[in-house]
């Protein structure tokens, strides 16, 4: 402190800062709740400016994780090798089947003159922060619009769907995990082709809602993205039905969401065709910007 204030004034300032800041926090909570878009730019700017620092801090952790995996791998090599040999044998058969099916598929597509699927490209990004706490399920990755990421793109790993991008800065982006309370993903149950929406509720197993025919769902059914709404590519594996109770089925995700290291962000070539924010009559003001395309309101 360079400015010397009289003790009385300093005491007065100290006395009033705390109540003012408390009121300010409360006001921010209410405003942020009333208008979800209000703090978006601030949030993106904060994320962007702190991303390099977080990346640096999380690097040793990532290295330690890799080392741990390597040491563990050292002890399990033998068993792992046998398992892989067996798996390889099985997969070779599947490969043959897949090749046959691909040829078939191509022929049939030719017959019905199907529109060719859009080319998919990936960006791989590392998780640099997660949401510590019980009420939000997000992770931050170290790639952003500089790497041509865009809001709404799907984040996946080799196992399946992780979430979607809700916020993209130039160097970092936030992924809303499928388990988050605000996550809504259009899915389809593979065996019965039943459409539904996968709704997170902050638990480890998201629920299926808006099921077209609930009686068709069985435990063990595979669930994949339906691609409805045009935001996600169809057919990304999501999980399997693991619980059936009165409140509806729950899904066990294929991806271990608490142990994310690297994510692939899928550019399905659709981000340009994401429905643009719909212009609302000016009277409704800023909230009109949120657009109808959101399956879930971003926080």
């Amino acid at each position: 402190m360079v400015i010397r204030l009289s003790p009385q004034i300093r005491a007065a300032i100290q006395r009033t800062t705390l109540p003012i800041l408390i009121l300010l926090s409360a006001a921010i909570i209410v405003l942020g709740k009333a208008d979800k878009m209000l703090f978006d730019s601030v949030r993106t700017a904060t994320t962007d400016s702190l991303a390099p620092a977080l990346e640096t801090v999380s690097r040793p952790l990532s290295a330690a994780g890799n080392m741990f995996d390597r040491v563990q791998g050292f002890f399990t090599t033998y068993g792992e090798n046998r398992r892989l040999a067996q798996e390889n044998e099985r997969l070779l058969k599947w490969q043959q089947t897949a090749l046959d099916l691909a040829t078939d598929n191509q022929k049939l597509r030719g017959l019905v003159r199907a529109v060719p699927e859009a080319a998919i490209s990936y960006v791989t990004a590392r998780v640099i922060a997660n949401s510590g706490g019980a009420y939000v399920r997000t992770v931050m990755v170290n790639a952003g619009s500089d790497e041509r990421l865009a809001r709404g793109q799907a984040a996946i790993t080799g196992e399946g769907l992780v979430g979607r991008l809700t916020e993209v800065g130039s160097r970092a982006a936030r992924v809303l995990l499928i388990t988050d309370l605000n996550s809504r993903i259009p899915i389809v149950i593979e065996s019965s082709r039943t459409n539904a929406v996968l709704a997170g509720d902050n638990s480890e197993r998201p629920r299926l809602i808006y099921l077209a025919s609930p009686e068709a769902v069985k435990i063990g059914d595979r669930v994949v993205t339906s691609g409805e709404g045009g935001v996600f590519p169809p057919g990304i594996p999501v999980g399997i039905v693991s619980v059936l109770d009165a409140a509806g089925p729950r899904i066990e995700p294929f991806v271990e969401l608490s142990q994310l290291g690297y994510l692939m962000i899928v550019d399905y070539g659709l981000s340009d065709s994401l429905p643009q924010p719909v212009p609302f009559p000016p009277r409704q003001g800023r909230r009109g910007k949120s657009g109808v395309a959101d399956e879930a309101a971003p926080r």
């Binding site: 800062t17 705390l18 800041l21 926090s25 909570i29 709740k33 922060a129 309370l181 608490s258």
Partner: protein
């Protein structure tokens, strides 16, 4: 009108920059630690409230070096970074500061179990409040079990945090 609660005349003055910065810096570190992506199953949801520990420790021992503005900034930044409803952490830390400050005289120069019990009460209150606030904000009844586990974990980790903070405090600021 004499300031009662907010003037803390008994604390020794420290001049070294490192010592003056320690409470704020350690609170920032606590905030960073709580968002580090540790690959432990289920950890993200159960991450102990490290900033709460730092705020409690420094409000008891050196409230003069932890201005409310710092708590507000750290809390707000944390919310912005994790994508939580903006302002919740800031409000929580400031309320914790207010409450602890008013009971501060009972905790200074007390044995650790006493300080720990104080933290236990505080953590239970804070987590309950946080849960209630999130329920209101999300307009739904959120699973309470996670909150219970997180509270227990936070209370259980506090001795470690308190030890580290105390060590740093003695090394840089001296006994306080």
């Amino acid at each position: 009108m004499a300031p009662k609660v907010f003037s803390i005349p008994a604390l020794p003055r420290v001049n070294s920059v490192a010592a003056r910065a320690l409470p704020i810096v350690s609170t920032i570190i606590a905030a960073i630690v709580s968002i580090l992506p540790l690959r432990i199953p289920g950890y993200a949801a159960l991450t102990p409230a490290f900033t709460l520990m730092a705020a409690y420790h420094w409000t008891i021992y050196r409230p003069d070096l932890l201005p409310p503005l710092a708590l507000f900034t750290v809390g707000l930044t944390e919310d912005l970074l994790v994508g939580a409803p903006t302002g919740v952490s800031a409000l929580l830390l400031l309320l914790v500061y207010t409450v602890v400050l008013s009971y501060r005289r009972y905790f200074v120069n007390r044995t650790f179990p006493f300080v720990w019990s104080g933290f236990t009460i505080l953590a239970v209150g804070a987590m309950l409040g946080l849960w209630a606030l999130h329920c209101v904000l999300d307009a739904t009844l959120l699973d309470f079990r996670v909150t219970i586990f997180r509270t227990v974990l936070t209370i259980a980790i506090f001795p470690v945090a308190s030890f580290l903070l105390g060590r740093a405090q003695r090394a840089l600021i001296g006994a306080g």
